[in-house]
Amino acid sequence: MTMKRRVFLKGSLAAGTVSVAISAGLLTPGPVLATWSKTAFEAKSVDDALQGIGLSGAAESSDIKIKAPDIAENGAVVPITVSAGMDGAEAIAILASGNNVPLTSNYVLGNGAEPFVSTRVKMAKTGDVVAVVKAGGKVYMNKKEVKVTIGGCGG
């Protein structure tokens, strides 16, 4: 519990910094309310990261398709495609559980956007690629293991 409190304190501090940056005109806030979450992108575990972006408590679902190689020779570039079969998807997050900072990216889907995202991520070591989709107020997740021969973080 003490740990959670620490994380929470850190989060509120970070949020303060962001709002200062916005008022100073350093960051232009977009029309979408969601901002880059420092807590989530610095969280060291998958659960903490998901909590940071408000996608915790995901239920496993096979409607989420993750296209990723079974074996990635170069962990610096692992192509990943996530698509979801459910209607009304609002957000997609891609995490690499073996990384120092598991949350690689978080996508907020705007009006008319399909639940489809394709990108390339870095993977430090063999681990699960976790895709989390928020649709209709519910959170779903799926994962796929990717074996990494040469890590892509640090060095």
């Binding site: 350093l26 960051l27 232009t28 977009g30 029309p31 979408v32 969601a34 880059w36 979450s37 992108f41 610096a76 570039v77 692992v78 192509p79 495609t81 690499a96 990384n99 120092n100 900072v101 598991p102 949350l103 690689t104 990216s105 978080n106 996508y107 907020v108 889907l109 705007g110 009006n111 008319g112 956007a113 399909e114 489809f116 995202v117 394709s118 990108t119 390339r120 991520v121 870095k122 892509g152 973080c153 640090g154 060095g155």
Partner: protein
Amino acid sequence: MAKKSIKVRAKAKGDMTTVKCLISHPMETGLRKDKKTGQVIPAHFVQEVIGTHNGNTVMTAHWSGGISKNPYLSFKFAGAKKGDTLNISWTDNKGAGDSLDATIK
């Protein structure tokens, strides 16, 4: 921005538009060390990528250093037609950024 840092290809097929974009950026995680000096290379990565069509934000991507160097992003959205303009813009953690208007083909 001296050089164009974004490459976008947007293709409309029926009602669905597929967007593929490449951004040139070093994407340093802040964990890597310089081999010669042993110094840690400071984090430098794209934090936010936004795709806008007709004033409607179709995609907001938040990234960490866990995205590969010279990042690639592809997404799909409905409601655009050929000849429309799609704007892609990015901002990194040092406050730099770029934006580009692309025509949907």
